[in-house]
Symmetry: C2
Subunit: 71 residues, 2 copies
């Protein structure tokens, strides 16, 4: 199995970026209106108003950022 | 190792989508101005004027789409 963990990237006060784990064992990430849906290998789903920012697959990491405008 | 293969998704004449393999053994995908940079586990790099559309990690697939406007 080659699932990854999804982290939310958010700027903190010191202008560096925090990585917050939002879902483990992610299999699929699919675009939806205004965001993305994460689906884990266990079938858990989570909708995020954001987009896939970057990947580091050997480290099993998927980085997500929130959309600029939260409508 | 948990690298994936990157595929370009493009509409064809029948209004379905072709998957064209653009890079094998992708480790990192990083955003750059006007596009993304793919880096394989061997260190090969490829710049694409596009974005990460979706992921299917258990299948080892990363799907890329080209930006709408090719400037």
């Amino acid at each position: 199995m080659c699932e990854a963990n999804a982290y939310l990237l958010e700027k903190n006060d010191r202008n560096t970026e925090n990585q917050t784990l939002i879902m483990e064992a992610v299999d699929k990430v699919e675009p939806e209106e205004n965001g993305i849906r994460l689906v884990s290998i266990f079938g858990d789903q989570k909708f995020i108003k954001g987009y896939i920012h970057s990947l580091s697959l050997v480290e099993h990491k998927v980085f997500i950022k929130l959309n600029d405008k939260s409508e």
